[in-house]
Symmetry: C2
Subunit: 551 residues, 2 copies
Amino acid sequence: MLEGLMQNDFQLTLAHVLERMRTVNATAEVVTLTDDGKRRATYGEVVGRVDRLAAALGGLGVRQGDRVATFAWNTQDHLECYLAIPCIGAVLHTLNIRLFAEQLEYIINHAKDRIVFVDDSLVPLLEQVAGKCDCVERYVVIGDGPTGTLEPVTRYEELLAGSEPLHPGDYPELSERAASAMCYTSGTTGNPKGVLYSHRSSVLHSLATGLRDSLGVSRSDRILPVVPMFHANSWGLAYAAALFGADLVMPNRFLQAEPLVSLIESEQVTFAGAVPTIWLDVLRYANEHDSDLSSLRSVVCGGSAVPRSLMEAFEHRHGVEIVQAWGMTETSPLGSIAHPPAGAEGEERWEYKVSAGRIAPFVEARIVGAEGEPLPRDGETTGELEVRGPWVAAGYYEDPDGSRDRFDDGWLKTGDIASIDSEGYIRISDRSKDVIKSGGEWISSVELENELIGHPAVREAAVIAMPDERWSERPLACVVLEDDGEATSAELREHLAQRVAKWWIPDSFAFIDEVPKTSVGKFDKKVLRVRLADGELEVERAERAERAEAS
Amino acid sequence: MLEGLMQNDFQLTLAHVLERMRTVNATAEVVTLTDDGKRRATYGEVVGRVDRLAAALGGLGVRQGDRVATFAWNTQDHLECYLAIPCIGAVLHTLNIRLFAEQLEYIINHAKDRIVFVDDSLVPLLEQVAGKCDCVERYVVIGDGPTGTLEPVTRYEELLAGSEPLHPGDYPELSERAASAMCYTSGTTGNPKGVLYSHRSSVLHSLATGLRDSLGVSRSDRILPVVPMFHANSWGLAYAAALFGADLVMPNRFLQAEPLVSLIESEQVTFAGAVPTIWLDVLRYANEHDSDLSSLRSVVCGGSAVPRSLMEAFEHRHGVEIVQAWGMTETSPLGSIAHPPAGAEGEERWEYKVSAGRIAPFVEARIVGAEGEPLPRDGETTGELEVRGPWVAAGYYEDPDGSRDRFDDGWLKTGDIASIDSEGYIRISDRSKDVIKSGGEWISSVELENELIGHPAVREAAVIAMPDERWSERPLACVVLEDDGEATSAELREHLAQRVAKWWIPDSFAFIDEVPKTSVGKFDKKVLRVRLADGELEVERAERAERAEAS
């Protein structure tokens, strides 16, 4: 092979991100909301503390490849951990504070975390499992609050103060293939699975967040990452800000609409990322208080499908465009971004905006059928979405079964049922395990749920498959009514009849008090299926909807 | 080492760029201006022709690593070569049509080009050297014009028509480290030096052009690359457009202001790249004809320092921002981009805009003194600019001397004298070989030239060093007066006295008819130095400017 005579050995590592903070982004700032008001530091100051933390980790015996965990909100201190841990060659393991205790215990032990950095406000949560995690040699508590029963324990500030800063030249030279971070994803079946990021994947993903067709993160931005740093790396916003020199506005644990809106207004935030629930809260609050959100150039929203009504309200009332994006912990997470093409207007524009987005550069996507055969990208045919690319996982950490089941010849099986059109826009119709296979055709549980929620009396709706002798499966709609809402199954079927194909209309309804949720707040249909199988759901059966009616 | 479990083996190659054109950018278009009006093709159609060309190259016996040259303007056909040649693993060698015949002969033979693709309009130029390039086995003429004495020769369209398209799955799997392209840079001393790009460098560079803080190339753009595809890869614009799905508007050989402005207006061009001379012509024409340049969101300008007056005129008269960028063939070329920080206004903003720009992400830069010692990044200290990064050259093709002389422990010595400030903005004061070392201090020839050109009677000015017993070197100003201009050396010294330090003012002046130029139109000071040494310059000596006056 004739090799190109370029600096192919220049390693794509987070060392470069730290170098940029140190040399050209030193005047950018990170603002953290605290109980005592706002704490401010320049990136130059942050780097000084990172150098101390890096040295301190060495002093604690942390070696390359060791896992060091964080159990923390989005703060300046967490950002320091984000940089120091991978830059000395250790692996930053971001623990999801919303996991059930058993899951938390499982992943700390599975990852063999040697040290856990924990916010003082989260000490009580961590205490529940600390006694069962023998691998942890030390807890480092961030803040002045009680350290509880954690043992042995060190204060974060004392750790920094007791350490001479590492000199820039004393950081190790790292391979871009080395592990930099890990994050467990809790599927609805089996144990959580660990995604082990590499420096290369983290850095390329960060670069991609700066693309104008992607999130467009820029030095001129002031970024509010509401999405937690323990949730798919805060969608890459922390490293992106550090790389490009954007300011960071850290909400800490103050995730209610009032403090968020106040931060946007007072800090002139230009860009923010959060799940739909947060934006719904922000919208309601901003409408009531006539808030000024005009500093926002755009916000990114994902994690679950973004309601069009939410996007419309933000645009019309506040002049702020919500951009939907799709991704997974396994995809770092940026997989697709829903920017409409130039010139698309009105309804056409909305058809793009409600999609899961256009495949990001360097991500390759395809859809495959039940036998794994590639299907046409015609915008109509649906199949399981598979992706690959430099920031897509290649397997799970010490989980050969998961690694085998979820990967297909180098492609990650996303578990989403989707179509892809000729321009690369992905439209997700369902999760593969939730889709209802009826008479050889697929019925989208997500679409039925969306239409049911459109009924004024319905607060929540989860549609699952019911075994059916003739059609193999038929949809069962589990519906939660509003406190003052009234609707019969007949009325809901009538509502759906105007909106979906006749043969999609559920034959069966169950009115329930609440849809069970997973630890990260997603509908847990597994629980509903168990209840159905155990006869615990009170099912109303309507007259059989014959498939023949559909034609 | 604990490796990250990501798809680290996903190769960053131009195959991905071709894949994106094929799968998600197929509806983007390339428009080429021709003698017979405009030729249009979608990227989908272009890819179909690339598949044919790729197969045809195989049929001609081209193997991986072989050099295949182009001698062509910016056209759709050239774009096809840009994709097919590297995607089969061969090396695209873009020949600069403006080289002197001896240089052209040298680089074809040095690179051992096996095939040369040539525009019919350029056949006469290539004929001058064809007889001396035994390595070339075949010429492929693009267009219907005469093929002259080129032998053996094939028509491009016949080559495509006679070939079955290569199937997407039949392209070879390439390493990202493999050579993808080469471009020779003609220094002012010695033979041209070959920069050998890798797939990895080309692809990462393309990705960086899409950053909002960089060129911001986007799918919504219609790009006019005026800068030639044989000049530092058209600054990366061709691959960037292909990757992001921007439309391309190809000017072919019609580089006069009239056709360019007409293309901008009729094709609603949003982004363009060209050297200052072109924009000066465009400005003059657009002013005279009241042209509408409002479709342009921005233009990028580089290759030599961009006059502030040009940038101001574009903004004030046409509402179009010119963004200055710095780079070299050795840097792919994007090294820095002069976006001012958010909030900078008035004079402060212009101080950033006239800089060579802020160091691009993933490029690292430093300045070093005469002994190679790193100097402070204080915005004042000047030294030789050195850069490194994934799209920076690591050496020259089969040129051990050049590779040794121009690289310093992994850093490329740019030959520019510059300062770097704490925000990463580079300000170039001179070429290292042109700077005048006087009494242990440096005098910037570029700054003196800029001030001299500011005098209404002066058309061109080149300042070189004259040997001096006491000060080691003193500046000699070689001045070309306007046809109707009159100025004595005393008047010019008086002009400078109000603008530069006293000890910078040249003691000696030579009034000449023209400044000699290199093949790419840059001042050739080497020729002036030879003339000075040979006593061919008529030098007027003013009274000695004593260094003591400076204080």
